[in-house]
Amino acid sequence: MSIEVRDLSFRYGKIVALDGVTMRLGEGAVGLLGPNGAGKSTLLRILLGFLVPERGGGKVLDYDIRREQAMIRRSVGYMPESDCFVAGMDAVTFTSYFGELSGMPRQEAMKRAHEVLFYVGLGEARYRLLDTYSAGMKQRLKLAQALVHDPKILFLDEPTSNLDPNGRSEILELIRDVSTNKSIQVILSSHILDDIESICASVVILKQGRLAAEGRMEDLRAIHYSLYELRIKGDGGPFRRDLEAMGCRVDETEDRLIKVYMPEAGDRMDIFRAAARTGVQLRYFVKSRTSLEDLFAGVVGVD
């Protein structure tokens, strides 16, 4: 396991940010999900060695998160969410600079900076001043500085924010390539569920500082509930209440599509029985493949 934490707890004053989180993350790309205040950033801060947990502990690449923070930082790459650069530098100097600060020899860092800048698509612009870079270029640059020292784990915080659709798909392609072909583990924290769904094989969902769900996406979809989509004719109120009384979560989209999240133990025939009891006609019924959005809504309880 590359990341392993147990009973991880942290609080900012009286506010509990993490409360007894225990998890093990293996190879591949892992999505870190959760609503605002769920504890994602605190978890990343602890994994990067920025914060010392109040209780519990863990290891990142076999380095203790309490005692070997410098070793962790040397072995991981971090791409922050906000724009960050050093004014007055060009991309080559910037990237090699952070390579050097990670412990690379100066000449090696410079050579490597050229390579990663070509890799992220900034080869032609590598001698331009960073102050003149567009949002998409800055995003690529952040990825380049995170990759320059060839980390074993890459922490990406909202890597596609502020990007146009083309830029977003290119960054996602890079991340996918890094995580699948280059044996670099990616921990991706994002609010864009599509990004996580398209890249990550497994996901960690945090809710109010606690671990709400963790595991392979396929397993999570299967374990928690079945999703049915239906359209009805008639008064939906009693029908909905009936389903909720059976333990189902019921959501209705703007185009009046009803999504029923049925518990694992439930029987789909119960939906038909409820419809008969409440006098509504079922005009459309299909068992849907749960998207990450559905999973997120089901686990965290928000749309």
């Binding site: 040397r74 922050p80 724009d83 960050c84 050093v86 080869g123 032609e124 290119e170």
Partner: protein, 290 residues
């Protein structure tokens, strides 16, 4: 823009090492970035004018007979000794030029990092807060030492060369130590002074204004308070007056103000301690992922 993965990604087969001085890349880059500014190069070159003037003075002092018509009654000024060196180090123009160099070359050392959110990049590397601050401070060490210790020692060497004997050195064997000691004091003080102000704003231009403003305002304040209270202790409010007091003490000269030099050392040390506390708080407060 080039297409993605034009050359592909390959693993680096080197080994990441632990640097003996992890702050050195920060220092080297800080110095390089300062010299990329045309305005700074001009100011930096200009800051050597006092050293050049004092060097000419040294030469003239050894050739008084040749320059008799020029020197006339100024020959007392050209009596080369600790007073001459004290005059070089504590004259207002050198101190102001140091402030000028630092304002244009070092104001953005921390301010720019805060403005462009790059602190999180530094601290995601195996760098401690001390490494980061030491790296930034060393940029200031470099600029101040090159304007103080280097010319001071060069002046001593030229004095020996012009005189053609070691008599001067034998008369004042402690002088190089005084030069190094006062240079170190100026260096440490200005490092804390500039970094403190650089950490207080995101805008390097405001920091430039602060660096000048506080330096000049403290002098003005001294003048006003002195005219009201008529006591030399008001000099303790002035940055330059405190530096001059300390300089005169280190070079064994008569103190310019009738105030024990220890007070000035205390004031300067107090500013450094205040700066260290503020830097510790400011740098910690952004050492997080947003």
């Amino acid at each position: 823009m080039a297409t993605v993965r034009e050359k592909g990604y390959s693993h680096w087969d080197g080994k990441l090492g632990e640097r003996r001085f992890p702050w050195w890349p920060i220092t080297r880059t800080g110095i390089q970035l300062a010299f990329r500014k045309k305005r700074f190069k001009f100011v930096f070159a200009g800051a050597f004018v006092p050293a050049f003037v004092f060097l000419v003075g040294l030469y003239v002092s050894e050739r008084l007979e040749d320059f008799k018509s020029f020197v006339r009654e100024s020959d007392r000024l050209l009596n080369i000794g600790p007073k001459y060196f004290s005059a070089y180090f504590t004259n207002d123009s050198l101190l102001f030029l140091i402030v000028l160099v630092l304002a244009f070359g070092a104001a953005g050392l921390i301010a720019d990092d805060i403005k462009h959110s790059s602190l999180q990049l530094y601290f995601s590397r195996p760098l401690s807060k001390t490494d980061y601050l030491l790296g930034k401070m060393s940029v200031i060490f470099f600029f101040v030492l090159i304007l103080t210790a280097l010319p001071g020692l060069v002046l001593v060497i030229f004095k020996l060369i012009f005189a053609g004997s070691f008599k001067f050195f034998l008369d004042y064997p402690w002088l190089p130590l005084s030069i190094l000691g006062y240079s170190a004091l100026l260096t440490v003080f200005f490092a804390f002074y500039v970094l403190l102000l650089s950490a207080l704003s995101k805008n390097a231009r405001y920091v430039i204004v602060l660096i000048f403003g506080i330096y000049i305002f403290s002098n003005v304040l001294y003048g006003i308070l002195n005219s009201i209270f008529r006591t030399p202790y008001m000099a303790l409010f002035s940055v330059s007056a405190n530096l001059q007091q300390a300089g005169a003490f280190i070079f064994g000269q008569k103190l310019p103000q009738a105030v024990p030099a220890g007070w000035s050392f205390l004031v300067l040390a107090g500013i450094c301690v205040l700066a260290a506390v503020v830097l510790n708080r400011k740098i910690r407060s952004v050492e997080v992922i947003k």
